[in-house]
Symmetry: C2
């Protein structure tokens, strides 16, 4: 089965591409490499030294005998997209190819507009390309748990059945996203849902939680296959960021009270969730939503877990509550369903002391590459 991974040079995309290749899928990677460009423009760098995509793919082939087709270009360029699709002829498209940082989208107007136009137009182009020439292709689109925000009721998977004034309907779950980035994913969800309805396309929206970890079975095979690991204030995410902060002796940066609770998952589960979605495609016309996380934690709890793990490893870890640069509830109800992927067979890697230990050790190995000036958040939601 031929699977195109758009954004296959990124953190989740690269791990997913290798996992699918290992599992026998015929994989193509499409990427405009703009994330590497943004890193340069912001003066930030992944903790890990990642090889150029061409070298990564070559090493993968040398090690496994499996080839991965590479399409370097931008999906907002429809001509490039449709030509490449005809060359590769995917049966499934995994779409990680979006600007994925909330702080990046909140830098200023230009970054907000860039994020929304890039993400919305890229996805519209994929939908039109599928309608035009690949109507049976299954779109596996990366959404985010952040689309839901933090409602005071349980979060369902994409839809909610509402009884109101004596009548009943199952409707899209209301969305309360917390950044222009998260908003772009909400826009995408609405657009994809509509395209499935009118054109009979098949799509799965993976509303992913915060991903942690760095090694997967495949990216751990060789230094040249190493995945990116972001710790900076723009692209770094909770837990990964905390482990790197701990490794360099920087206080863990908890925003505000730290009661912000979110869904989390190990990157080894990300790749398996995507595989499960591909292996069990949506029906024609179906817009399916899976909540892709395995556990819920508050940011404050994670910081304490990292502090405790540090103690075992003789690393002294401080926790610092910063003024929250974001606008979000810091104490709130949060309970989200995640049964769809489990019922398809996902066997989660739950967060463990040993995972945190290994992340801390991994971070220590590369801590000479840390630029401490990039650790603190510089982007404010309110400004």
């Amino acid at each position: 089965m031929k699977v195109l991974v758009i954004g296959g040079d990124g953190y989740c995309g690269w791990a997913t591409a290798l996992h699918l290749s290992k599992k026998g899928y015929d994989v193509g990677i499409m990427d405009n490499l703009v994330r590497r460009h943004w890193d340069m423009k912001l003066g930030v760098e992944t903790l890990t030294p990642i090889a150029p995509i061409q070298h990564r793919i070559q090493r993968w082939q040398d090690l496994t005998g499996k080839s991965i087709d590479l399409f370097v270009g931008d999906i907002t360029d429809y001509d490039f997209l449709i030509k490449s699709l005809h060359q590769f002829e995917p049966e499934a498209i995994v779409h990680f190819g979006e600007q994925r940082s909330a702080p990046f989208s909140m830098i200023d107007r230009e970054h907000a507009v860039l994020t929304q136009v890039n993400n919305v137009v890229g996805t519209l182009n994929i939908l039109y390309a599928m309608r035009q020439d690949f109507p049976d292709c299954h779109l596996v689109k990366l959404g985010t748990m952040g689309e839901y925000g933090t409602p005071n009721i349980d979060i369902e998977e994409g839809y909610i059945t509402i009884e109101h004034n004596g009548r009943k309907d199952t409707l899209p779950y209301p969305k309360q996203p917390g950044s222009f980035y998260h908003l772009s994913k909400v826009h995408d969800s609405h657009n994809i849902h509509f395209a499935c309805k009118i054109w009979g396309l098949r799509a799965t929206d993976l509303n992913q939680g915060v991903v942690y970890g760095v090694l997967t079975e495949e990216t751990g095979m060789d230094e040249m296959l190493i995945n990116r690991l972001d710790y900076d204030g723009v692209f770094g995410t909770a837990l990964n960021r905390f482990c790197i902060q701990a490794a360099v002796g920087h206080p863990l940066t908890v925003y505000g009270k730290g009661g912000q609770t979110r869904g989390f998952l190990d990157i080894r589960d990300t790749v398996r969730c995507v595989e499960l979605a591909i292996a069990n495609p949506a029906d024609p016309g179906q817009f399916r939503v899976f909540n892709q996380f395995t556990e819920m934690f508050s940011v404050g709890d994670l910081a304490v877990m990292v502090k405790n793990a540090g103690t075992h490893l003789d690393i002294d870890v401080d926790i610092k509550h910063l003024d929250n640069p974001r606008v979000e509830l810091e104490q709130h109800y949060f309970y989200a369903k995640n049964t769809c992927l489990l019922s398809l067979g996902l066997q989660p890697h739950y967060l463990s002391d040993s995972l945190i230990d290994s992340l801390l050790n991994f971070a220590s190995k590369y801590k000479h590459r840390v630029d401490e000036k990039q650790i603190l958040p510089k982007v404010s939601w309110r400004r």
Copy 2:
């Protein structure tokens, strides 16, 4: 009070600008005039011969002594927008300045992308300009009842209180829009809601129904002030379109079964609703949603009403059920609330035989301008 009407050269915008000017508001019009350009590109024309915006404004001043400032330019050009705002210094911004046709957005990929980028970026720019230099300005944004789609439960005004698994919250009403245009309005709503939340901006989203009629007290004062009246398959809307079809002896074009039920309002109420929203601004941080319609009709019912009105005027009217070019339910539950504007004092002009008579007579006056080739729908949702 200074009010800037963005899209003030359009059907609703022009009528609103004059109404507010008449009522003593200090009015500015901002418009890129692209709607006139699109008409030319599509080879369609308003039934009524509309004067250039500069002449319209001059005639208004000659008749009433009231001047209207004109800013010709595109709000997706942030420099133009912010400079013009500083020149005018609005206390309220009425934002009609979007691509507003569902069929236009469904012509092809380019028109879908144009619609969403134009509408979303224009609105983002307004939000950023308000945050930057006009934080107390009140945004009155035109949304659409079409954002809700046709759920099987009552439609509330923007929000719905949901009880679920023993807990309760009031959340944004779920949206099921039916075209890439309607989707763009849903995207806008989410973006504006977020901007109010994080920046304390004040906004009112007017989820307007289908507008009918052409004359308002002000646009009826002089031939040079005449409003546009669209009847073509792209920009024409139900009722207005039916009256013009009847006037030229063309069968009324009901799409499918005709059971599609929607909210409708007289353009004389549009201008008063906008005035009510301006006169009663949202609070800082508040994203307020009003459903702006006065009555609900099915498309089939409207066709019958026009046919009956034709009988009084000795016009023989046929009704033709076309294959529905859209993807929409043709028989469905529809009940929407519209109490907010009524409680602010709106006194509706309900649809009457005399209104239909006058529209038919008005259409007859200009029927020599009808290009019958433009009447049938050419844009299919499914294609």
